[in-house]
């Protein structure tokens, strides 16, 4: 009688090489498609910024005149100024307030904190249109007392409303990570609580504060919907201004130039940050190595 040999398949082995190959090809296709989708608009903006012609549907010649022209476009400059003014004020205030609010919420203890964190997340999760529309209605009710409320004030208030939660949210995990003994040690050594907070806790949560600030700035600068409902008296930020102008079909190419510049600066900033971070890490490792050897 012939012994039937068990094949690999009988042991439950399955051959995935063909599938793996298909997956690999699909993977490349997918990655290219997604990167294309994410970047096509940025690329088009860049192309339009160096197009000599004012007509957006044809490319005539390479020219950088729209870059130098940014400063001559009064409306554009005003919109840019307004954007930076609102986002600057909102980001600084939100970072400062959000950090202390997060510390306060953390001190509340877990049970109470969960409830307030839920409320904290409302502005983040709530649809922009609902936030914007309902804030507008509230400010409108206030108009009975303060008739000229719409403008810079309402914009900053609205921006604070949705930027503080981001700061709180990014500071909170860092607070959870910090050693609770740190604070106690400082107090035992005779430092007063609020001084200890600034000298000990804040440095420990620095990274969270910084990332919260960046998030707040990002959200604030790019916001359209909430600003759209809460601005007034011709106080347009960049998004609102662009939205209004594209309705009239005469967007100056300088906008594309400004946007491209901003993208480039962001990229350079991020790369520099990354580079510095790496250097810092390298130095730390070196130090550790030296310590390791001597001890």
């Amino acid at each position: 009688m012939e012994n039937k040999r068990a094949t690999l398949k009988d042991y439950g082995y399955r051959d995935f090489t063909v599938m793996n190959k298909i997956y690999k090809v699909l993977k490349k296709f997918f990655v290219v498609f997604i990167i294309f989708g994410l970047y096509i608009s940025i690329v088009v903006i860049a192309i339009q910024s160096i197009n000599e012609s004012r007509i957006i549907s044809e490319f005539t010649n390479v020219s950088f005149k729209w870059y130098t022209n940014i400063f001559q476009e009064e409306e554009l400059m005003q919109a840019i100024k307004n954007t930076f003014l609102v986002s600057g004020i909102a980001t600084i205030l939100a970072t400062f307030l959000g950090t202390f609010f997060a510390i306060g919420l953390y001190a509340l203890g877990k049970k109470v904190r969960v409830i307030w964190m839920l409320l904290n997340n409302v502005p983040i999760l709530n649809a922009d249109i609902v936030t914007g529309f309902s804030l507008m209605l509230m400010f409108r009710l206030l108009m009975v007392v303060f008739p000229n409320i719409f403008g810079l004030f309402t914009l900053v208030m609205a921006h604070l409303f949705f930027t503080i939660p981001y700061v709180v949210l990014s500071v909170m995990p860092k607070l959870k990570e910090t050693d609770p003994n740190l604070m106690d040690a400082a107090l035992d050594l005779g430092v007063r609580p609020y001084k200890a907070l600034i000298k000990v806790v804040i440095p420990a949560i620095k990274a969270g504060i910084f990332s919260g600030m960046l998030l707040a700035l990002t959200m604030s600068i790019d916001d359209f919907v909430i600003s759209y409902f809460n601005t007034g008296a011709g106080f347009d930020n960049l998004s609102i201004w662009i939205y209004a102008v594209i309705g009239r079909r005469n967007l100056t190419p300088s906008v594309y130039a400004f946007s491209t510049l901003l993208t480039l600066f962001t990229l350079i900033g991020l790369l520099t940050y990354q580079f510095l971070q790496k250097q810092k890490k390298g130095k730390k490792n070196e130090k550790n190595n030296i310590n390791g050897r001597t001890s």
């Binding site: 904290n120 609902v130 309902s134 962001t266 990354q274």
Partner: protein, 275 residues
């Protein structure tokens, strides 16, 4: 942390209580009454008159459009976004920060401008055609495809980020254990990795679904005003200062949001995957 610092939370509690609840209460009140800029408080009448708006066919169509597009966008960004997040996690490239930067970088330029330039290259005569000689997108300006493309690639980064955050937290020992116990890689993914990343998927889905459902700028620009979303109607009501109707529609959207928040708190108590 020192209990003394509880005081620091007090102003924020006041701030949140006022700015979360007062505007919404005002909105609800305005949606069920005749309150507008011309009516003084004394003549206030509560009525459900505005609810007729909800049964108008234009409103229903807008709701249908919003829901269909939001669902499709969420699904597509889940498929693509999960794939990219997983590839970033698997990639041998050590510096994940740079990979994530590549994903987020487009979000730093102005959304309206990006959408407008997308709409430009989707129309028949465009700048890419004059350079390349052919039409990259065909002539899809004003169609549902244009809107879907714009929505998916605008909101997908949110999905990628939250899924990646969840994936990154999975202990590699668990995956190793699954492989050691004889699961093939595909099953390992479905039985171990995917369930553990569900938290990120839920958060990501909500962060894509809600802005899509309530958005108005992207569909308006990309469909050239052809496809009406619920947000578009709200915007129109705002422009024509019909706040009662606008408020009513916003209240309806609010219910969708409350549902999503409840769903989210089931999966993620303190909103840790929100960032």
């Amino acid at each position: 942390m020192n209990k003394e610092f509880k005081v620091l939370a007090k102003p924020y509690m006041v701030w949140l209580s006022i700015l979360v609840f007062v505007p919404i209460l005002a909105m609800v009140l305005i949606s069920i009454s005749n309150l507008d800029s011309s009516v003084s408080v004394g003549e206030l009448v509560i009525s459900l008159n505005h609810f007729k708006l909800l049964l108008e066919s234009s409103t229903l169509i807008a709701f249908r459009n919003s829901l269909i597009f939001a669902t499709a966008t969420t699904f597509l960004s889940f498929v693509f976004g999960y794939f990219i997040a997983y590839e970033i996690k698997l990639s041998k490239f050590k510096n994940k920060f740079i990979l994530l930067t590549i994903i987020i970088l487009p979000m730093w330029s102005n959304l309206i401008l990006r959408t407008e330039s997308l709409a430009n290259i989707m129309s028949e005569n465009n700048i890419l055609k004059s350079i390349l000689g052919f039409n990259l997108f065909g002539n899809i300006s004003g169609t549902w495809m244009a809107v879907l493309f714009g929505l998916v690639f605008t909101y997908m980064p949110f999905m990628i980020l939250s899924v990646y955050t969840a994936l990154e937290k999975i202990d590699f020992a668990l995956e190793e254990a699954a492989l050691d116990l004889g699961l093939p890689p595909i099953k390992k993914f479905w039985k171990v990795v995917f369930p553990l990343s569900l938290k990120g998927v839920v958060t990501g889905s909500i962060m894509v679904f809600l802005p899509t459902l309530a958005g108005f700028a992207i569909p308006k620009i990309l469909s050239r005003g052809q496809i009406v979303f619920i947000g578009t109607i709200i915007e129109n009501k705002f422009v024509y200062t019909n706040y009662n109707h606008g408020a009513l529609l916003a209240v309806v959207i609010l219910f969708f949001i409350l549902g999503s928040i409840l769903l989210l708190t089931k999966f993620d108590k303190e909103g840790e995957t929100l960032l």
